[in-house]
């Protein structure tokens, strides 16, 4: 939260003005306090309000709100992951929805297997396809630990391979954005096919059991919500550590002047690839937490529109800061949940307008505006 707002654009004049912060404390005291408050809210206040306060009370937190908040926390993780590549490395990905969805699918596979083990019924899509056996790549997904491993490893591996070839050929800027979009589009088409073995159009759904506990109960919603909150806090600390490390400094340097970094003797490939892969793994974890909370994972999560929306959460909150994307994701998704019910017509106007207004007038987002205001007023 003490990172200077700096430019993402190598060619602009901002790059020259960006200054490296002298090494300061990992987090300022008020930063630690905010983090603690956040964890208290998530781990103590919310469970008490949801589970201990009786139903009729005004203070009672209904399951709808718990599930919604949990979902938004997952989006915040994705936005944070996006910010690490876009805000700190200058790589705009239009395919982060793919990594998120892959994590969700890995968890969905486990949840389907658990449902089959508990009830003896095969998932709907297999009955529809008249399959009696799970395809070979479902092997082992009945173990939670393996599914969780897949949720992290598959996006990570895909990002590593894709990133290796892309960064090695020094594809960057808009070209990179567009091929990431093509990648997620191709994946969406692939997952839409029934023969791919992931439920086609409908995706994976009908989740009943998670680690032996029934899904859909208040207790489960609260547990997943707490897990999401803790994961988000953990990711934030990880990201903070990463961008302050030497690795992170080089990354920022690459963002601002890649050629100069190369002339200094660094190979940008491994720096970019490292943050790119880490970001994909974070998205995978977010997806794995997301699937059981919304009860379904389907290929529309991979649509190019979803991925580009992730970029706007980050842009609105403020890229190049770590708190910004979290604020952006929470604000945009909360207003989306409200507006799509209250004024469904207005939502696309608002979202489209946000895209335009933020890029035109607030390139560093809400956090950037806040910093400007603070500079001006003391």
């Amino acid at each position: 939260m003490a990172v200077a707002p700096s430019s993402s654009n190598a060619s602009s004049a901002h790059g020259a003005r960006a200054q490296l912060q002298p090494p300061t404390a990992f987090l300022p005291p008020w930063g630690w306090a905010t983090l603690l408050l956040f964890l208290l809210l998530i781990c103590v206040a919310a469970p008490v309000l949801a589970l201990a306060v009786p139903h009729g009370s005004n203070l009672h937190l209904s399951q709808y709100w718990v599930a919604l908040a949990g979902k938004i926390l997952c989006y915040a993780m994705v936005a944070l992951a996006m910010d690490m590549v876009w805000g700190y490395a200058g790589i705009l990905s239009l395919g982060h929805g793919l990594f998120f969805a892959l994590g969700g699918y890995a968890m969905g596979m486990y949840l389907n297997r658990a449902m089959t083990a508990a009830s003896g019924n095969l998932p709907d899509f297999m009955q529809f396809m008249q399959w009696t056996h799970f395809p070979w790549y479902w092997q082992g997904t009945e173990h939670f630990a393996y599914a969780l491993f897949l949720a992290l490893a598959v996006p990570g591996l895909l990002a590593f391979v894709f990133g290796f070839f892309a960064f090695r050929s020094r594809i960057k800027g808009v070209y990179f954005s567009i091929i990431t979009q093509a990648l997620t589009y191709a994946a969406m088409l692939l997952f839409f096919r029934n023969e791919t073995g992931f439920g086609g159009n409908n995706g994976l759904t009908d989740f009943k059991v998670l680690l032996g506990f029934p899904v859909g109960t208040m207790a489960m919603s609260v547990a997943l919500f707490v897990a999401s909150g803790v994961a988000l806090a953990g990711m934030f600390l990880f990201a903070r550590w990463l961008v302050r490390s030497k690795f992170g400094r080089v990354l920022t340097a690459i963002r601002d002047a890649e050629s100069r970094v190369m002339f200094c003797g660094y190979d940008p490939l491994w720096f970019k690839l490292g943050v790119w892969t880490a970001s994909a793994v974070m998205c995978g974890l977010a997806g794995a937490l997301y699937a059981p909370q919304v009860g379904i994972i389907n290929p529309s999560e991979m649509s190019p529109a979803n991925s580009i929306e992730i970029a706007i959460w980050t842009a609105i909150g403020g890229r190049g800061t770590l708190i910004g994307p979290i604020v952006g994701a929470v604000l945009v998704n909360a207003s989306k949940s409200w507006l799509t019910v209250a004024m469904p017509e207005a939502w696309l106007y608002l979202l489209g307008g946000l895209f335009i207004v933020v890029t035109l007038f607030a390139p560093y987002g809400i956090v950037g505006l806040w910093r400007q205001w603070r500079l001006r007023h003391g």
Binding site: S169, R170, V174, A305, Y349, L360
Partner: protein, 535 residues
């Protein structure tokens, strides 16, 4: 050329009607045999009657098919308006209580219909005869030999004659005379009809241990003819694939041309390009509505009026967007990308609010429907051909505009060196606006063309944006030749793969191939050689 045939036909008609009326007209006995009795005897009577084509028979068959015939005590009565007429006397009668309407089962109905079609072989209208012979070619097994021979005697139109001869050969294939069968098999090698192929195959059948065709020489000839037909059919299939590939490529090209201007020449990432296509399509829809309202007689030509209109609408909105938004973002490609995505959302929602979220219907004008029969299994639809020609025209116009006009010169100058162009007095801001208007206007033209082959809905543009970018990126930024080659190449490759692997896998394969290709040649197929500084 046609005159002798016409005279002959008229003569024959007259003869049938007047002179030999007693001998050839449909007798009451024949009519009764066709209308009543069991199915087999009715069919036999029908076959018999068809040997003497006669307008009365045609009317009678027509009435039978319309359920306007009844039998009353051995007398056939047909309905005329509200009255019943006795077929034998031609007098109006009052049907008795035990009059029974003639009921046709499906088999009889089918036979009646094909008999009626056969009678059309003697119609004075060429179109009716052609239609009849085409219909009979689809099912040569149920065609009557005598009728075809009779028609052959008087037919003078070369195309119909050729078809009739083939049809005759197809009928002869089941003749009891082996020599006739051999000749027929030889003649049928020239046929392109899938139905003939099926017929030949059925003659080769020996599933019950016995050859349908007993004569081995005829069998050999049939096999030879089949091979000849198969080869020709395979060729026309290949031609058909190539055509659909070029057609798909031309659509891609049309959609991507606008992007080639805005992205290729100006460096603006316009994610709303698909929505400008959509605007063009809706402009076409609006133009059709205006014609329906004010010029209903000329409604078929609304599409022509829509061409400039869609260009102006999409181009106008484009210039407005450039003036208000894009202008502030030059040199910040990633931000442009996000802002134009926002524009696309607003445009989608605006059109949804104005026209409703469902598809709207843009009609195909009659002069664009139908197709050119190249071969029996190869029809080139006119609308696809028109779109290919339209794409070529747009491409030509744009090429000339960029290469030969003052505006084109300015656009190229600003693209190459903005500062220098500005120094020598080019009003760069105005050039930017016009170039963006040109790019979006061409997208509007694409939308106008796409109304003829796809759905028109607020979301129709989103499907094109990924493809368009692929085309531009593959072709090389700023390269019109590259864009053309990339679009046509992608179209053909996609169509070929579709035949092998299905539409979805083909698309995935193409996308992955492009991703791999960009690894190798990040500047596209037709990259400019030079030492431009990286940005």
């Amino acid at each position: 050329m046609r005159r002798p045939g016409l005279v002959l036909r008229t003569l024959l008609g007259l003869t049938l009607l007047a002179v030999v009326h007693a001998a050839y007209a449909l007798t009451p006995q024949e009519a009764l045999a066709i209308a009543g009795g069991d199915t087999d005897s009715r069919i036999a009577a029908l076959r018999q009657a068809v040997q003497h084509p006669d307008p009365q028979l045609a009317t009678f068959l027509h009435k039978l098919l319309n359920d306007e015939v009844q039998i009353d005590g051995g007398m056939v009565q047909v309905q005329q308006g509200n009255d019943w007429i006795n077929l034998a006397t031609g007098q109006a009668v009052t049907p008795s209580a035990n009059a029974e309407g003639v009921v046709n089962n499906n088999y009889v109905r089918k036979q009646l219909e094909s008999a009626r079609a056969a009678l059309d072989l003697f119609s004075p209208s060429r179109a009716a005869r052609l239609k009849a012979v085409r219909q009979m070619q689809d099912d040569p097994a149920s065609v009557d030999r005598g009728l075809v021979e009779q028609a052959l005697k008087i037919e003078r139109d070369p195309e119909i004659r050729k078809r009739l001869q083939l049809l005759h050969a197809a009928v002869l294939l089941t003749s009891p005379d082996a020599a006739e069968r051999l000749a027929a098999a030889k003649e049928l090698a020239a046929s392109n009809y899938p139905a003939v192929r099926t017929l030949l195959l059925s003659r080769l059948d020996h599933s019950d241990g016995q050859h349908t065709e007993i004569d081995p020489t005829v069998r050999a000839q049939i096999e030879k003819s089949l091979a000849a037909i198969d080869e020709r059919l395979a060729w026309s299939e290949r031609l058909g694939t190539l055509f659909s590939g070029i057609s798909l490529g031309s659509i891609l090209l049309l959609a991507a041309l606008g992007l080639a201007v805005t992205y290729g020449l100006m460096g603006v990432i316009n994610m709303a390009q698909g929505e400008f296509i959509m605007l063009g399509a809706y402009a076409t829809y609006v133009m059709q509505g205006l014609f329906q309202r004010y010029l209903p007689a000329e409604v078929h030509y609304s599409l022509l009026a829509a061409v400039p209109f869609s260009f102006l609408v999409a181009g106008g909105v484009g210039m407005l967007v450039e003036r208000t938004i894009i202008r502030r973002l030059y040199g910040r490609p990633l931000e442009t990308l996000l802002a134009t995505w926002g524009i696309s959302l607003v445009l989608i929602q605006a059109v949804r609010s104005l026209f409703g979220p469902q598809n709207v219907q843009v009609d195909n004008p009659p002069w664009m429907s139908g197709g050119l029969h190249v071969m029996a299994n190869l029809i080139l639809p006119y609308n696809r051909m028109v779109i290919i020609a339209f794409t070529a025209l747009v491409l030509l116009a744009m090429g000339l505009l960029i290469a030969r006009t003052r505006l084109g010169l300015f656009v190229r100058a600003v693209t190459q060196n903005r500062a220098m162009a500005s120094c020598v007095g080019v009003r760069t801001a105005r050039v930017d606006m016009l170039a963006f208007g040109l790019g979006t206007g061409i997208a509007g033209l694409a939308g106008c063309a796409l109304t003829q082959i796809g759905n028109v809905s607020p979301e129709m543009g989103t499907g094109y944006i990924v493809d368009c970018f692929m085309v531009v990126v593959l072709g090389g930024v700023g390269q019109l030749t590259g864009t053309v080659a990339a679009a046509l190449g992608l179209g053909v490759v996609n169509t070929l793969l579709e035949g092998v692997a299905g539409a979805v896998l083909a698309k995935i394969a193409v996308l992955i191939a492009i991703i791999l290709f960009i690894q190798k040649r990040p500047q596209g197929m037709f990259a400019l050689k030079g030492r431009s500084v990286e940005t």
